[in-house]
Symmetry: C2
Subunit: 110 residues, 2 copies
Amino acid sequence: MREPVFWILTALTQGRQHGYAIIQDASRLSGGAVVLPVTTLYASLERLEKEGLVRADGDEVVSGRVRRYFALTPAGESRLVLEADRLEAKVFTVRSQLSLRPALILGGIA
Amino acid sequence: MREPVFWILTALTQGRQHGYAIIQDASRLSGGAVVLPVTTLYASLERLEKEGLVRADGDEVVSGRVRRYFALTPAGESRLVLEADRLEAKVFTVRSQLSLRPALILGGIA
DNA sequence: GCCCATATGCCCATTGTGGGAATATGTTCG
DNA sequence: CGAACATATTCCCACAATGGGCATATGGGC
């Protein structure tokens, strides 16, 4: 799973949300590190809908502007849980590798 | 950072390695989950070399076959450490979001 | 002799990402 | 009032990264 999709699904864990708000959530949740481009967002949402991880959840008009709402499907939720597990495993693996890397033999017995 | 690059850099933490062995390391380190396609590997290595995260570390001939060795640069190592931190932060964030998601109110007081 | 593992290289298609710009309404500020 | 900016979505198009297919070449096992 790529970054944009990860943040979209993560933003949707708190309930239905519309596109523009997802961009703001992604930025907030990542501490400002992630900037989700609009084009990427809508392209991803369309793809995720086709894959059944996200579903359209009604259009609403707020002060003249249309909002398209999206929601996580059960499949989307379990996919995100799976991703969390995978990320955790990756962290464990790199950390292990980094801690036992040859370069670390700097103090030694001396 | 994408999956293939992550596993390439992780494989190289234990010292210089040649292409084919990196593929096997990636598979082993990921518990068989990651299959690094040959084309992706060499394309990535070339890119990583250009970016200064990896450097060519000599060609050797073993039983008639040429092996191209590659090694992590200090930049590559710190990039991987940074990536580990980012992954850890992502795990923390999703887990938090998942634990406080509306759907979890199922047991309640009852 | 044939297949498989090792080891790399070239060609090319697809996927996901993302820049640019258009559209349209509401708000803020000089 | 006009300009700039935030909200909210859409279309067009370029590009980086991924990866499939195939070619090449050697050595080992059946």
